[in-house]
């Protein structure tokens, strides 16, 4: 959209007959803001766009003034009177666009609930997650879009998912090319003595990065002392001299022209940098900054630039650069990466940006300072020899029992406790004999067996056969029931549709219960309404599962609970919509779902399916029980204000 907002002068009218409050109407993508000119008047308005459902306006040429009527989703309306029709036109178009946009978004897997400020990237991430995981999308649709959970609540339990997704993306920045600048060959036309170098901002940046001296020279000379063109001409002249290996000529030229000499001399910045680098080197070991960096003064060991012979002339040594130095420097710059994120347009800005980033890193380097102590620390840290240390990657965090006596003493006490009265019912072995007698009989049997030896035969063949047959029988029946594969569960044998249905119920009930329990203890009225919302939804799912086999009475109980909840909180819109769902004809629909599951399950599996469903019921029952107990406590305590949190 071209512009994100529209501001117009208008009058705000609550009804058509209202004369209206003059003020300024400002519409952004998210909200409509009306500020009256007279700050004391009451017509201030701040409405979010998502509540706006549609718009009506008067037509040009009709007898009516230019009015715009925005209807909200609670059937209220906001009427604005504009000064002229063109203003109305603008606003109308804007509203139209915004409404169209929100409409189209809600068709996609939506996450555009503007109640929290989300960056576009985050939004993108969520949409992506929803798209990839249909299960998640289903849940999202069921709960967030129906308004049971807010966007934030839904995602709060899935932070990990988001983080993981976000971590996947790492920004990759474009680095330097690995080609060396010395590879840029001049083009000659062959006839004249003219040599042409082609420069691009890319190359310039690289030159600056690799040769700090050139960089410094550029900053000092251009544009005060010479033009940029002259500067580069000088630079390439120096380069050219290098490439011709003519160190005598180089020396001669340097003597004449002190600016040129700058390019020909050893790069003192580089030298000092490498010296400081050596000082910073980890005294124990650091392979990438060894003494080699200090070898800038030594002639290279028979490696020649461009493969040609080099004549050593010690007096002109100053004006020679070695290939290995160039390569090392180039490699370092490439590895360092591109620190500058400017559009490569202007040489000057490139140079300055580079200077800035240098500064930053050097200040960082200084903060690193206080080197001597650091080094000592490091030495002592590093001289710990790892081989001699015990492996410290314990796979488990040991359970921390704060006071072991607490734990063990309580266990001890429990072990000694006579739990007789509680468990009297389950006690099977009535001790009719004294312990002396029973021990005696045991010892007797031992002496019997000592005297007689093992019983022969140990088992009667008939019994053995009977046992074997029974076991074989049970094996073959379980094989039939459970399926060929012992790993295969009942679920795998259900028709696919029912299996999915069941799993979906499971996940949605779990999601709801998670939010339900997470809301306890209830400390704010916000949580209070949320619990109610979750509960009603829970009830609904419960209904879905139960309706088929519930007796009428039970059914009614749960419905009436739902009614109580709803009568307490009529102001929560989605509850009222659920009310219709519950009490209306959809009741029949819910039971239909359950009947369908039941009906299409093969008869031999029905029992197992109800076994699968039972834990669901239990979990829901527990939630409902907890809720009811809590309600009772609440109503008992605050009988005087039944709508305590209204």
């Amino acid at each position: 959209m071209a512009s994100g907002h529209v501001t117009k002068r208008a009058k705000y009218k609550t009804t058509i007959k209202d004369p209206g409050t003059p003020g300024t109407l400002r519409m952004t993508l998210e909200k409509i803001l009306f500020v009256p000119h007279n700050p004391k008047s009451a017509g201030k308005l701040d409405v979010e766009f998502r509540f706006i459902k549609g718009q009506k306006h008067t037509k040009e040429g009709s007898s009516k003034p230019p009015w715009l009527n925005l209807t909200n989703n609670q059937n209220g309306s906001f009427i604005f009177e504009f000064e002229n029709y063109s203003d109305l036109q603008d606003c109308r178009d804007f509203v139209g666009k915004v409404l169209a946009k929100s409409g189209e978004v809600s068709e996609k897997p939506t996450v555009t609930y503007p109640d929290e400020q989300l960056s576009a990237a985050e939004m993108e991430l969520r949409i992506k997650l929803l798209r990839e995981d249909s299960e998640l999308q289903k849940l999202h649709k069921q709960f967030v879009l129906s308004g049971v959970l807010t966007e934030a609540e839904f995602w709060a339990t899935r932070k990990k998912l988001l983080d993981r997704e976000a971590n996947k993306k790492t920004k990759q920045r474009l680095g330097f090319k690995s080609a060396m600048i010395s590879d840029i060959k001049p083009s000659t036309d062959g006839r004249t003595n003219k040599v042409t170098f082609n420069l691009t901002p890319e190359i310039i940046l690289q030159i600056f990065a690799e040769k700090p001296a050139v960089h410094r020279a550029f900053l000092t000379y251009v544009p005060n002392k010479m033009s940029e063109r002259d500067f580069w001409t000088k630079y390439f002249r120096a380069e050219y001299l290098h490439s011709t290996k003519n160190s005598v000529a180089a020396a001669a030229e340097a003597a004449e022209d002190e600016e040129l000499a700058v390019f020909l001399k050893q790069d003192d910045i580089l030298a000092s940098e490498s010296r400081s680098k050596i000082r910073r080197v980890d005294p124990t070991l650091d392979m990438d900054a060894d003494e080699g960096d200090d070898y800038t003064h030594l002639p290279d060991h028979g490696i020649f630039r461009d493969g040609s012979k080099e004549v050593t002339e010690s007096e002109n040594e100053l004006y020679r650069r070695t290939l290995s130095q160039d390569i090392n420097r180039h490699a370092a710059v490439v590895l360092e990466g591109r620190a500058v994120d400017v559009e490569l347009e202007d040489t000057r800005s490139v140079a300055e940006a580079l200077a800035r980033s240098k500064q930053e890193s050097s200040t960082k380097g200084e903060s690193y300072g206080d080197t001597s102590r650091e080094r000592l620390d490091r030495v002592s840290r590093m001289t710990e020899i790892e081989d001699l240390q015990a492996p410290n990657n314990l796979p488990l965090a040991p359970l921390c029992i704060k006071d072991p006596r607490d734990y063990f003493d309580s266990q001890q006490v429990n072990a000694l406790r006579t739990s007789g009265d509680e468990l009297a019912g389950t006690e099977q072995i009535k001790c009719s004999l004294s312990s002396q007698e029973v021990y005696g009989s045991l010892r007797e049997s031992i002496s019997v067996i000592k005297a007689m030896g093992l019983k022969d035969p140990i088992v009667k063949p008939e019994v053995a056969h009977q046992v074997f047959d029974a076991l074989t029988q049970s094996i073959s029946t379980t094989k039939y029931n459970i399926g060929k594969n012992p790993q295969e569960s009942v679920l795998d044998r259900l028709p696919k549709k029912i299996k999915e249905e069941l799993l979906h119920h499971w996940t949605s009930i779990l999601e709801l219960l998670r939010h339900f329990w997470a809301s306890y203890p209830i400390t704010t009225s916000y949580l209070y309404t949320k619990v109610n919302a979750a509960l009603v939804l829970t009830l609904l799912s419960y209904q879905k599962l139960e309706a088929g086999k519930q007796t009428e009475g039970c059914h009614v109980t749960y419905l009436s609970t739902a009614r109580v909840v709803l009568s307490n909180y009529p102001q929560v819109p989605f509850i009222s919509s659920l009310l219709f769902y519950l009490l209306g004809s959809s009741d029949a629909k819910a039971s239909y779902v359950w009947m369908e599951i039941k009906g299409s399950v093969p008869s031999d599996l029905r029992h197992q399916v109800s076994l699968l469903i039972r834990p669901m019921h239990q979990a829901l029952d527990a939630a409902i029980q907890h809720y009811e107990a809590d309600m009772q406590k609440r109503s008992a305590r605050s009988g005087e204000r039944p709508n305590g949190y209204a």
Binding site: Y439, I449, R637
Partner: protein, 296 residues
């Protein structure tokens, strides 16, 4: 091609640690007499030792007041008891068992009335696991270990925590716990033990055919188990005992820090000392005013 040598013997070499229930109160009421039971078990042990020369059997008596090792095939094979009436191992086992019972009886004097007559399964399970750990650490090669519980006494809910700890440590060291329950009701502990560790749980229908059950189901070595169906219980009783009153419960409170189980709401976890959220009602009224309510 042979892969790199592992520390386990090939195939079917097994170490079976058998926990024998010697609770006198159970045996005095059982339909299977103790001497019959012993002959079934002794023949079974002998069969295990016969199967492979390297097989090893350890027997631990699970008594009413104590438990102890009563046989270890790796050390107890002395010839002196040989009398031709029964396998060599049996006589030494019986001797030790008798001594054990006498000691166990001496300990029993001060036990209060009314306690469930359960045997000390937690103790013998721990001893079995200790033995197996020692074998694991002892040397180059060791057999595949497994534990077999021959249990008849009812579960003692007060042993819940100790037994579960033993079960989990067995699970971690990959030692399956087989269980054969000869009592009247089924044992939730043993069902869980076998389920969690991947062992077999079975409750024989005909107790006089116990030997056949032992041979058909529990003599199967771990190697062969990957090729065979073994009887599976229809369902597993997963109920836990609470830490506070040792009641068996199906629903309760769990400490979110250390996962201890309680049957009632507590202010503080007795195991790890974490303080739980205050009771919801009081907190609601006090902090409601202070906290800013996020409005939807």
């Amino acid at each position: 091609m042979a892969s790199a040598p592992s520390k386990l013997y090939a195939d079917d070499v097994s170490l079976v640690v058998v926990l024998v229930d010697t609770n006198p109160f159970f045996w005095s009421a059982s339909s299977l007499s103790f001497s019959q039971f012993l002959s079934h078990v002794l023949a079974f042990l002998n069969a295990i030792l016969t199967l492979n020369q390297l097989n090893q059997v350890v027997v631990i008596a699970t008594g009413y007041n104590s438990c102890n090792y009563i046989f270890d095939s790796s050390s107890d094979l002395n010839q002196s008891f040989e009398n031709g009436r029964m396998p060599v191992m049996c006589s030494s086992l019986l001797q030790k068992l008798e001594e054990f019972l006498i000691k166990d009886e001496q300990l029993s004097k001060e036990v209060p009335e009314g306690r469930i007559k359960s045997s000390l399964l937690s103790g013998s399970l721990s001893m079995a696991l200790c033995y197996i750990q020692r074998v694991f650490r002892s040397g180059a090669l060791h057999p595949h270990p497994r534990i077999l519980c021959l249990q008849g006494s009812p579960d003692g809910p007060e042993q819940y925590v100790a037994i579960m700890n033993a079960i989990f440590s067995a699970q971690r060291s990959m030692v399956p716990i087989d269980s054969c329950y000869m009592g009247a009701q089924n044992s939730a502990f043993l069902q869980q033990a076998s389920y969690i560790t991947g062992g077999v749980h079975h409750k024989p229908q005909h107790l006089d055919g116990l030997f056949q059950y032992l041979m058909t189901i529990f003599a199967t070595d771990l190697h062969s188990r990957s090729f065979l169906h073994l009887p599976k219980p229809v369902g597993v009783d997963f109920r836990a005992s609470c830490f506070c009153h040792k009641n068996t419960i199906d629903m309760g409170y769990i400490c979110s820090v250390c996962l201890s189980i309680f049957c009632k709401h507590h202010k503080k976890c007795s195991t790890c000392g974490s303080v739980f959220g205050q009771a919801q009602s009081e907190a609601a009224s006090t902090s409601d005013k202070k906290r800013k309510t996020p409005e939807t």
